[in-house]
Structures are given as structure tokens and as C-alpha cells.
């Protein structure tokens, strides 16, 4: 139902270039992962060329006003990040914070892997509904997940599962200690 409504709205909406820039900037800001022009074009009901143009325009604007932020193209998407030159101040500031929070994207990805392992990237995409590439990288970096061989399917995608480090970090003896969601799962799979 939502989707129908969305498309309806999308057809009606005509945004000025400035309005489009504003909404593209806002969505890039709230996204956990680099966001692709394709995804944005779909969400906003705009064509990819307009989105691409908006991104480039925003990037130029950030650069021209010497903002502390930059819009950068990365991993097939766009992302707002702090300007590279400021990294010393940023690092110093981040060090003052006590413990590292996992982003919601990482936490979601970890949850899917924990409960569905071994699981492939396309399967995670299917469940979460969004790309999880950088979240998977983070989880691998933090050694919370490990590769578990390849699936015997088209493209032989890599399968992932949780690591021993995962059990340690979350205080679990073994995976059977994970709280059960089995009953809910049956209804929606």
C-alpha cells in the first residue's frame, strides 16, 4: 500500500533543482551506507541524471564554501564525510569518546548473519532491503563475522557466519544461547 502511495506521490512531485539538492543532501546524511544514484532515483521518483547532477552540484558547493564536510563518491555510492585535512582534530575528538557504537546498519547486518548463518550477501540484501557492503566490511574488520566458504549457487557467493570473537563480545557460550526468534520468523519467511 505504501509503495503504491509513494509512486503516486512521486508522479505528482516536481522538484526544483534546489529542492532536489536539499532532499538528496538530507537522505545522504541520514543513510548509514554510501547511497547510490540508482537507489535515490527510485526513492524520489526522479531520473538518475537529475540525481547525479544534484550530487555533483552539492559536492561543488561543499568544496566552494570550504565546508568541514565533503561529499565523496565511494563504493558505488555517495557519502557525506569530514574533510580529509581535518582528520587530526576529528581523531582527537573521537578518542575522547568511551566505546564504539555499532551503526544500525552494522547491527542489523550482524543480527541477520547471527540468526541466518551461513548467509550470503544477496540473502542479507533480501532480508534487510538495503545494501550492506560497508557494514559487512566493518564487521569483518572487527572480527565479529568470518567467511564460511562459498555457496553452491549461481556466482558461488561467499557465505558469512559469526566468529568466536562474536561469542566473546556478546557473552555467549555458543550460538544456541542466542534468544529465540523462531516463532516470529516462521510467519514471515
Amino acid at each position: 500500500m505504501d509503495i503504491e502511495v509513494d509512486q503516486e506521490v512521486a508522479e505528482q512531485v516536481t522538484r526544483t533543482p534546489a529542492e532536489l539538492m536539499a532532499v538528496v543532501e538530507a537522505l545522504t546524511f541520514v543513510a548509514d551506507e554510501p547511497i547510490s544514484t540508482k537507489v535515490l532515483a527510485e526513492v524520489l521518483g526522479e531520473d538518475r541524471e537529475s540525481i547525479q547532477a544534484a550530487f555533483e552540484e552539492i559536492r561543488n558547493e561543499y568544496d566552494e564554501r570550504g565546508s568541514g564536510l565533503q561529499l565523496r563518491e565511494i563504493a558505488g555510492g555517495w557519502q557525506i564525510a569530514t574533510r580529509t585535512e581535518l582528520h587530526e582534530d576529528v581523531r582527537k575528538f573521537l578518542r575522547t569518546r568511551p566505546s564504539a557504537k555499532l551503526s544500525l546498519a552494522s547491527l542489523e547486518t550482524l543480527a541477520v548473519i547471527a540468526y541466518k548463518q551461513p548467509v550470503t550477501v544477496p540473502e542479507i540484501l533480501e532480508i534487510r532491503g538495503v545494501q550492506s557492503a560497508s557494514a559487512i566490511k566493518t564487521l569483518l574488520d572487527k572480527r565479529l563475522i568470518v567467511a564460511k566458504g562459498r555457496k553452491e549457487a549461481v556466482g558461488r557467493p561467499m557465505m558469512y557466519g559469526t566468529s568466536k570473537e562474536f561469542l566473546v563480545q556478546f557473552g555467549l557460550k555458543d550460538l544456541s544461547e542466542l534468544p529465540s526468534i523462531e516463532d516470529f520468523e516462521d510467519l514471515v519467511s
Partner: protein, 257 residues
């Protein structure tokens, strides 16, 4: 909104309010959920009667108030003790006002109006009710702004600020996103969520504890199953019930708190 059943009332659980239409009184239309307490109900009745708050027609208002309480009882809606306390207060004030004035008392000035304390409370309460309205507007506006998506912070920091329950909660939310999608489909179907909720409520009321496994097994189709599942979520959300699970992967019991 569903159309009225024999009892002439309908529940809209989305709003978690109940609307009563009809009853014996001519045009008593009350949304129960709209009343945050007895003072709120009193203010409503005073406005409905277009009465002056500084000169409350206590007999009429008391009558209306009691009528409302009786209606609630007839509809098996549990009447909170606080509503009954207020009923007693109203009756007491009413009887005081009926008492003949002491002829020995000097002037009207010296006699305290029995309604005064109630009026003071109403006025004080109404300020906070307005403040609650202001807070409501504020949070509506505020909930329309969003902060940035999380950035993975310091890579050198091995400590992770999350527990296994965060993982479960997050996973349930992902699952719920799917449920939302399915829910939207079934809203056009004939199976009514309201009916499912009523069935489940009746069952809980009758036997106190319902096995979700058994309840789900009774469903004939996937759609019914999903409706039943959403009904459980709704009841858990809107009513004082508790889900308990004795063993991992075991059956879940839903019971009154």
C-alpha cells in the same frame, strides 16, 4: 471504523480509543480513550453542558458523570477507582449544596462554596492539560527531524557498545518491516484484524493464558496466520498482557498481567 455490533460500540485499536455511540442517553458520544482521568471527564461534561466552570450546575453534572460511569460498566469497561472517588466527591458536594443554610451564619461571604475546592483543582488541572497539548505539538514537529546515520567510530576501539538483546531487537525490527508490508496487503482482504483481536481478547479473558502455538495452529491460511500474529502484536502493544517463554524455541504464552 467498523460498523456497530449489537452492543453498539466499536473499538479502534490503532487509536487505542473506544468510541461509544448511543446507549440510553440521547446523544452521548464518548471516546473513552480521550479521557485521561476523572478531571478530564468532568471538564468535558462541563463544556458539553455549556456550563460556567465557576458556577458548576453540580446536580446536572453529577447526573451526567454517573450516567457515563454506568455506561462504562454496562460495556464491561473497567472503571478505574479514581473515577469512582470523583463520583463520591460529586455526590458529597451535591448533598452539601442541598443542605439548608445555617440561619445563624452571618453572611453568604463567610460560607465556603462546597464546589470551591473542586473548581480549584479543575483550573489547576486544565493548565497542565494545555501544557500536555503544547508538548504534543512540539514532539510532532521534532519527530520530523532526523540525525545522521551512524558513522563507525574509532577502529582501534575493540569495545562494542551493544548487547545480544540489541541484536534480537534489531532482528525483530527487520522482521517487523516485512510484517508491515504483509499487513498492508491483508488490509484489503476480508479477514478483519479487529475480529482477530476480539477473538484473542475473549480467549485471554476466558482462560487467562493462551498458548500462541495453539492459537496460530488454528489458522487456516497464511493470511490468517499473519493476521493472528499482528493481533498478538497489537494486544501486546495496547493492553496489559505479557508474553512468556519458558524454554528457548519453546511455546510462548500470552497472559493477563
Amino acid at each position: 471504523m467498523q460498523q456497530a455490533d449489537p452492543e453498539q460500540f466499536t473499538f479502534d485499536f490503532r487509536e487505542s480509543t473506544a468510541q461509544i455511540v448511543g446507549g440510553t442517553s440521547e446523544d452521548l458520544k464518548i471516546k473513552i480513550g480521550d479521557f485521561a482521568g476523572p478531571l478530564d471527564l468532568l471538564l468535558f461534561l462541563i463544556k458539553q453542558e455549556q456550563a460556567n466552570i465557576f458556577d458548576i450546575p453540580i446536580a446536572r453534572i453529577t447526573e451526567k458523570y454517573l450516567e457515563y460511569i454506568r455506561l462504562m460498566k454496562r460495556l464491561d469497561i473497567s472503571v478505574a477507582a479514581d473515577f469512582l472517588v470523583m463520583a463520591a466527591t460529586l455526590i458529597e458536594i451535591k448533598s452539601k449544596m442541598l443542605l439548608p443554610r445555617d440561619p445563624l451564619a452571618a453572611d453568604d461571604e463567610d460560607i465556603e462554596d462546597p464546589r470551591k475546592e473542586l473548581v480549584d483543582r479543575l483550573l489547576e488541572y486544565e493548565k497542565f492539560k494545555s501544557a500536555a497539548g503544547m508538548l504534543h505539538e512540539r514532539i510532532e514537529i521534532e519527530s520530523a527531524t532526523f540525525t545522521r546515520g551512524a558513522i563507525e567510530s574509532d577502529e582501534n576501539n575493540a569495545e562494542i557498545d551493544a548487547t545480544v538483546f540489541d541484536i534480537l531487537t534489531v532482528f525483530q525490527k527487520i522482521v517487523a518491516r516485512h510484517v508491515d508490508e504483509i499487513k498492508m496487503e491483508i488490509e484489503r482482504e476480508e479477514i478483519s484484524l479487529a475480529d482477530m483481536i476480539k477473538t484473542l481478547q475473549r480467549r485471554i479473558a476466558e482462560i487467562g493464558e493462551v498458548s500462541l502455538l495453539e492459537f496460530f495452529e488454528e489458522m487456516h491460511s497464511r493470511r490468517e496466520l499473519v493476521t493472528a500474529f499482528i493481533a498478538v502484536l497489537e494486544i501486546v502493544r495496547t493492553e496489559g498482557v505479557k508474553l512468556t517463554q519458558k524454554a528457548t524455541f519453546g511455546d510462548i504464552l500470552i497472559r493477563k498481567v
